[in-house]
Symmetry: C3
Subunit: 352 residues, 3 copies
Amino acid sequence: MFPKNCWYVACTPDEFAEKPLGRQICGEQIAFYRDNNGKVAAVQDFCPHRGAPLSLGYIEDGQLVCGYHGLKMGRDGKTVSMPKQRVGGFPCVKSYPVEERYGFVWVWTGDASLANADDIPHLEWAVSDEWAYGGGLYHINCDYKLMIDNLMDLTHETYVHSTSIGQKEIDEAPVKTRVVDGEVVTSRFMDNVIAPPFWAANLRTKGLPDDQPVDRWQVCRFSLPSHVLIDVGVALAGHGGKDAPADKRVNSIVVDFITPETETSHWYFWGMARNFKPEDKELTDAIRTGQGGIFAEDLEMLERQQANLLLFPEYDLLKLDIDAGGVQARRMIDKLEKEEQQSRIPLESVSA
Amino acid sequence: MFPKNCWYVACTPDEFAEKPLGRQICGEQIAFYRDNNGKVAAVQDFCPHRGAPLSLGYIEDGQLVCGYHGLKMGRDGKTVSMPKQRVGGFPCVKSYPVEERYGFVWVWTGDASLANADDIPHLEWAVSDEWAYGGGLYHINCDYKLMIDNLMDLTHETYVHSTSIGQKEIDEAPVKTRVVDGEVVTSRFMDNVIAPPFWAANLRTKGLPDDQPVDRWQVCRFSLPSHVLIDVGVALAGHGGKDAPADKRVNSIVVDFITPETETSHWYFWGMARNFKPEDKELTDAIRTGQGGIFAEDLEMLERQQANLLLFPEYDLLKLDIDAGGVQARRMIDKLEKEEQQSRIPLESVSA
Amino acid sequence: MFPKNCWYVACTPDEFAEKPLGRQICGEQIAFYRDNNGKVAAVQDFCPHRGAPLSLGYIEDGQLVCGYHGLKMGRDGKTVSMPKQRVGGFPCVKSYPVEERYGFVWVWTGDASLANADDIPHLEWAVSDEWAYGGGLYHINCDYKLMIDNLMDLTHETYVHSTSIGQKEIDEAPVKTRVVDGEVVTSRFMDNVIAPPFWAANLRTKGLPDDQPVDRWQVCRFSLPSHVLIDVGVALAGHGGKDAPADKRVNSIVVDFITPETETSHWYFWGMARNFKPEDKELTDAIRTGQGGIFAEDLEMLERQQANLLLFPEYDLLKLDIDAGGVQARRMIDKLEKEEQQSRIPLESVSA
């Protein structure tokens, strides 16, 4: 089960540039395409005629055409036309509120009447000229909450990413988790350490020395339904760390949109936003390639962890201090889900 | 469930020329081979000794020998011999009535006492020198009834086969479905149209112009249990269409034997019989290759439709006029199946 | 279900020379590694922190380190340490009695308090300088009892291994099965036959003629839980067969350790011990390659037999004289399993 009355990142526009995209989100089968007004549309991926996936079809004059017998589906889930047929009585399929913003398509998988695009979070790095963004998408066969745990406890970098961003000091530095303004914030500060390879490269890119001690920070922010944005960076030691002047530090935001597919699989939109050399597209590509490689190191661990948890249902997982970020995030998710379920109780049951 | 008291096309003789063929038909595991009289035999694909599939074995002196410990199985499901063993008391396995006719092997998967080879339909194109036949076999992961629907509603050609046999006029021409003499007949006539590439090529083959308007026809005939034979062709416009003189038309029969494997998979024997240039083997091969390519275009659609129907069990499919052929065919199948089930009710239940 | 209070062969030391080995044995997920004393350890393959498979980690100072967040696991299933954590209260995971002996690792998958390494059978060929051993491992998707049946009835050699060790005389010679000192012994003697290719080659290796009649023997010995050791050989005809002087015969022991993974899959450790030319490593390799090829011929048959048995649950298998070895072996296994189950009944149930 997932909270469904929320905006999830579903895809990026390039994924349906040529033909419709079929994707499962929170257990819903959805076809995404761009309509004749240039607006993204999202309808149930099911032709009411004979059940073919609409995403196997094509777009004609901004309408989704079923590739089997030519039914034309509208963005509201109502059939528009079908050759030689009167379609007024055709059953509707679901349509989903959908918004294109910040380079992503956001979909609302629950009660459409509650959808409000203002609830999509503001992402300054996605609209400001001072920032550049690059990222990618992985399909991962594990519960999306395991990915949230992963990102809210960066201790794993020491072990899973030992050759790039991991370093021994990470798991030696204490972490602190707070819930602030509806966000779970887990912070870790490592003062006076040697920059690991990934950050050493970024220091050089910015013209800073890579062989001097730095103050390193990681501030992970979880927000509902399943976004994790992480402030990361290093500053030359003793200049204030995270608050050091811009010419003494290099930093970025690790962007993680984690979208459930099924109970045991999810879509992982990962990327990095940086506010140095934003115009340098080669740098964007280089960082994307590097980050893609690093984040791929998590895949086997997460999928094997998922498989192992299914084999050992009798065990409870530990909840240590380093796990507090994930624990608090799951608590917020569970609360949201429970509220949704209660709001669905029909009136007669309540009065009884 | 499937009607089982009927003749299904099981395989072609070349499939067991070298060694026995194991194939599942209507949920029955069957081993096919040729016995010492040159007659095709079909027995349950299960060695009564230790359960090995008999089709993994070989043929010796016209007997099926289990490849594990050498049990020899007879065509009646009784063990013939086994080294150093007395086999009189060995349990029998099922044997199936089987007939080799028209280049196909036909098997009766139900009550053997009811099997009558006279019920195998007469196929004039398979025995006449004036006709040539070429075809192939596809294994498709969908309910065989979805394939019947597909073939009884050729509207899909416009969408699925747009580059070969599809044309816009197909879904603009009305269809008519009748039940005649135990056959479901769905007809569509398109007068004064341009021949699509497949038919243009056939016109040229027959020495007819390919750039003049033609009258095109498609007459789909379903018969139990799951055969669809389709009269298709084009005639130079205004000469009587389907009834035009032979030198003004080119036509053929699309042959479809659709044999259930499981509830969600089937064997699809497809082919084409033609009554022009029957002696031209190169033409036969060329048509087979072309048809194989066209019919392969249906596979993804059918398998994805099946998967989608399993995901959306709550929806009923529409039954439009274009679907009438499939609807009537399914009605005949359901009736046959119900009759079979009732005939299986034991006497005591009936009298009670 | 399997008897679990016994020693099974789990792996060979080379399998965890570089990193831990994760393997399922009798339904238990186990991580194998070598500890800081050089002793093999076996613990449940589950990190008590977040459920990652411990076998995905690495060994540091003889301790198993979880590759996700650095928990160090001890050979007793108790967490040794974890960065910045007090681990005293961490839940334990199972540990398994384990012994390295005869070039194999033996694991006890049941009640650890009953494990006694003295119960591991003595294997003279594994410790004597007069013998050489070579072997390999196959993973096979069938019930391990089907493999025991296979090895206790060598009639199948005539059919499955017809080009190497099979010969017609095998299934013409009577077999005799006895239960002796807790072993099931199935013997077959074929006097005055031509040596099949495998034995002809071995005769030449030992400088004996390969074109003269030989007396051939096969004595299969099953012992609990699932070991089959087979005395096989040929002697020049008329010199006493199995008891012929060493310079008139060539013989070896086929070694089969058959370890359940799940109900329908197992690990098959196969090999051959010989007491001629034991110092000849090239000969060892040549025999291993030949045997590996021959034993691979059984895989398809066994896996297809398993699949067929699942398709035909209504059939009982025959129990002929040639099957007596397997039947007796299964009887011993069932008895052991039943005893184990009864010994697990809690006292209150017994007194009630």
